[in-house]
């Protein structure tokens, strides 16, 4: 087994860990974090595929590497939007929970709509 395969297996474990955290953590912020962990595991697969595709004097196939760079930026955009949604939920209801049975009137600031 070489180093690239080792990190590929790491990626598989990270996807599992992230998925577990995504399901069992009740707090939305922890879910967002777990989802980022899951995503970084998927990116590691691209790293493995890129490293295996080393040819023509390059240390790795540049195409999957470029895709990961794009992916990291898109993951950050999605995280920023998710965090903004979460903070707005907290601002509007006074609690950051995904449970449906919590009354929405306990907020410090009324909804503006």
């Amino acid at each position: 087994m070489n180093a690239a395969t080792l990190y590929g297996l790491c990626g598989a474990a990270l996807v599992g860990l992230g998925l577990f955290g995504l399901i069992v953590h009740p707090q939305p912020l922890r879910k967002i974090l777990a989802f980022n962990l899951l995503g970084s595991g998927v990116f590691l697969f691209f790293g493995l595929v890129a490293r295996r595709g080393a040819a023509a004097g390059f240390g790795g196939d540049p195409v999957p590497q470029a895709l990961v760079i794009t992916g990291v930026v898109v993951a950050f955009s999605a995280t920023a939007l998710a965090v903004a949604l979460l903070l707005r939920l907290f601002q509007a209801t006074g609690s950051a929970t995904l449970r449906a049975d919590v009354p929405a009137s306990a907020g410090t600031e009324p909804a503006d709509s």
Binding site: A3, T5, L6, Y7, G8, L9, C10, G11, A12, V15, G16, G18, L19, F20, I23, V24, P26, L29, R30, L33, N36, L37, S40, F43, L44, F45, G47, A50, R51, G53, A54, A55, F58, G60, D61, P62, V63, Q65, A66, I69, T70, V72, V73, V74, A75, F76, S77, A78, A80, L81, V83, A84, L86, L87, R88, F90, G94, S95, A96, T97
Partner: protein, 314 residues
């Protein structure tokens, strides 16, 4: 077993241990701090995978900016009292563990039985490198061979920002994002906010410039510029700009606009959308990269600042 491989194993075990800690930590704040450490370790893994460009991006965006974003959110949520503890039942946790382990095992099997020899596009990239006279193959792919992805990703960034802004209450629309930060003007933060930006701005532009031939590029350079701007805002030396400001919006669309104009020009003059005429390839690419860096820096900074929270004082 060689010394190098022993290092790889230690790194892999450390990465998994830190990731587990980040999932298992009791408090959200601890989990986020551990996640930042995880991101930096992951950057080392990317270096070991001979992907230095990705390592720079992971350290800057995956660890740095995402960490700052989550830390800010954890701080705000904690200030409002701890969220109600709703631990899921043992059956759900067991089911989740079995499901996650199954998926991880299936993926691991996929990793072990990848096709051999591995498919690669590296020779094709090397063959066409002369067309753009860029020495860094990753920049070549990002800005020329798969320019469409990069252009659409700029649009995704912009859409995310529009999404964040649209969460503002109606009466605050067009106002300034985030709270006005206050810091001791003679304190450490204000001192560094004066000392670092001149250096950081030079480093950011250098990373952009050197990205043509060496690891680096528009994303990494733009992130450093964004970090410098955020530092100055956090130290209270400057305020966040009101989102209704016209010059700000022009900067936000500069990157995608430059891309679109060059792309349509390629359709008109050359063979296809985003086809660069061979003679002007390098100057056109540089123009796109500079516009993109500016847009990335401002968009990332504003994504971190969040939706408008204060009405603009006129």
């Amino acid at each position: 077993m060689t010394m190098t491989f022993a290092f790889e194993i230690v790194l892999a075990v450390l990465l998994l241990a830190i990731a587990t800690w980040s999932i298992a930590a009791r408090h959200a704040f601890d989990a986020v701090v551990v996640f930042v450490v995880y991101g930096l370790l992951l950057a080392i893994v990317w270096v070991k995978l001979s992907a230095v460009d990705v390592a720079l991006t992971e350290a800057a965006i995956g660890s740095g900016l995402t960490g700052a974003l989550l830390l800010g959110a954890a701080g705000r949520l904690r200030a409002g009292g701890a969220p109600a503890a709703e631990r899921p039942g043992a059956i759900l946790r067991l089911g989740a563990a079995v499901l996650s382990a199954t998926i991880a095992a299936a993926l691991a099997a996929g990793v072990l039985f990848l096709p051999d020899p591995a498919p690669t596009l590296a020779p094709a990239v090397a063959e066409n490198a002369a067309a753009t006279s860029l020495g860094n193959p990753v920049t070549n792919v990002l800005i020329a061979f798969r320019a469409m992805d990069t252009m659409l990703e700029k649009v995704v960034l912009l859409l995310a920002l529009v999404g964040v802004w649209s969460l503002a209450p109606d009466r605050l629309w067009g106002g300034r994002p985030g709270p006005r930060h206050q810091a001791d003007p003679r304190g450490v933060l204000a001192f560094f906010a004066r000392l670092l930006p001149p250096v950081g701005i030079v480093v950011g532009i250098y990373i952009l410039w050197v990205g043509a031939d060496h690891p680096g590029g528009a994303f990494q350079g733009g992130t450093i510029l964004a970090a410098m701007w955020l530092l100055v805002m956090l130290a209270g030396l400057t305020d966040t700009p009101p989102v209704s400001r016209r010059s700000l919006r022009l900067v936000l669309i500069a990157g995608p606009a430059a891309f679109l104009i060059v792309g349509l020009g390629g359709l008109w003059l050359g063979d296809a959308f985003l086809a660069y005429p061979a003679v002007y390839a390098k100057p056109l690419i540089l123009a796109i990269e500079f516009a993109m860096t500016l847009t990335i820096a401002v968009t990332l900074g504003l994504l971190l600042a969040g939706p408008p929270e204060r009405a603009e004082q006129r």
